[in-house]
């Protein structure tokens, strides 16, 4: 399993989750968990995904998702899970 955390932060608008999920499905990425919250009026979404079957290079997926976010006016980040795991778990 190659777990990655995708975060989407920005102004809420229709179809954010749908478009991110479509990209992930097209590139063989399996979604393990999704949660979302509103902080300070901003839409915050986090997905835990498995990228072990990823059809493109990791860096490519990061850039594509970032670009996809830009077209919707939100910030999309894609980071390997270990950084969160290490910081918040002993």
């Amino acid at each position: 399993m190659n777990k990655t955390i995708i975060t989407v932060v920005g102004k809420d608008t229709k179809g954010i989750i749908a478009r991110v999920c479509t990209y992930l499905a097209e590139n063989e990425v399996n979604i393990l968990d999704i949660s979302q919250t509103i902080v300070g009026g901003y839409f915050n979404m986090m997905m835990i995904v498995d990228m072990s079957q990823l059809a493109v290079h990791y860096e490519q997926a990061q850039n594509d998702l970032e670009e996809l976010g830009r077209t919707m006016g939100v910030q999309v980040k894609c980071q390997r899970e270990e950084i969160f795991e290490k910081m918040h778990r002993i």
Binding site: I5, V9, S35, Q36, T37, I83, F84, M87
Partner: protein
Amino acid sequence: MININEVLETNKMVEQQNLDVRTITMGINLLGCADKDLVMCCQKIYSKITTLARDLVKTGEDISREYGVPIVNKRVSITPISLVGASCCKTPEDYVKIAQTLDRAAKEVGVNFLGGYSAIVSKGMTQSDELLIRSIPQAMATTDFICSSVNVGSTKTGINMDAVRLMGEIIKQTAEATKDKDSLGCGKLVVLCNAPDDNPFMAGAFHGVSEADAIINVGVSGPGVVNSVLQTIKGESFEVLCETIKKTAFKITRVGQLVAQEASRRLGIPFGIIDLSLAPTPAIGDSVADILCQCGLERAGAPGTTAALALLNDQVKKGGVMASSYVGGLSGAFIPVSEDQGMIDAVECGALTLEKLEAMTCVCSVGLDMIAIPGDTPATTISGIIADEAAIGMVNQKTTAVRIIPVVGKTVGDTVEFGGLLGYAPVMPVNKYSCADFINRNGRIPAPIHSFKN
């Protein structure tokens, strides 16, 4: 499983509080490059550095992108050059040729500093050590990325006062040789006592002889994160204050540990240590002085500063040690003046003096760092400042250092601009009374009584 609040907290640290990994430093042993012929020696040095560190910068950038955490600097530290050049360097100019070779190697691999143009002379100077030291002004003036350090004392050996006297003169000459850049050469030159072999931070980084052939050391940072967290606990007890700093230091250090292990794995070079340091930058909020203010001081330098810094330093270590298996280097809070906006402000408003900074170095991780002083300060006075710092280090069994810049043509009230990470600094006044007769004595100060532990 990780929850959304934890993810948001981590990303907030990076995006709003300047969390970063300050440096991945590759230590490289150059002892095998020694040769009777200077040209051959330079060739071997160039080849070894450019081979081992070839992928260092790219690997750092890859890790940074994949994990979403900035890795600000990629650097190289090397065996103290006075050991490597001993058999081929007959003049200071020979050493300068090695410095220029190192500079070319640094540029080739893309690192922004290379440290280890160094000599360890804590008890005595060999002829080679002295040649290297005398070459420092010219080496600093003719290279861009080379950092130089000289270790003049230790708890075990005492203080080599001949070296202290010489370094006062060398700092003055380096200032003169780089006067067209506000004496910037002195910003890349540090005089140490009890220098560690595995320090990843410049200007004092070198790859000690106790180290393996190559090693990855990582320096973490994050004063901005500690500063932000402390804003949420105003007026709470010391227990809450300490606990909060400790927990934050743990989180920061875990990021460094992850980056270090990943860099080590990808480069195929063993992991050495994590240096748990709060290293400030000139960015607003990324300041150790601001943390001291959050602890309850009006300005860094006010009474209570030394106690607040001692507390901070200790909690950073306690939190950090839990987060990493191997801790080393300097580990603690750095208090450079020019690289910390809060310190600069404190100096400019008169709250912070050189003497108070000296007191602070008794409890922080290094010493008098990036301090601009008038260009007409006598060499013996600079040696006196070095001797004082070395004495603090020697007696307290800690690393101390002096990175001081006697800026040619400038005096108290002027400001010096170094640029980039080195920041800017107001020129600080120095005590006018002479210590020349003390400094001009020959020999060394013996090791303190508590060094005899056998």
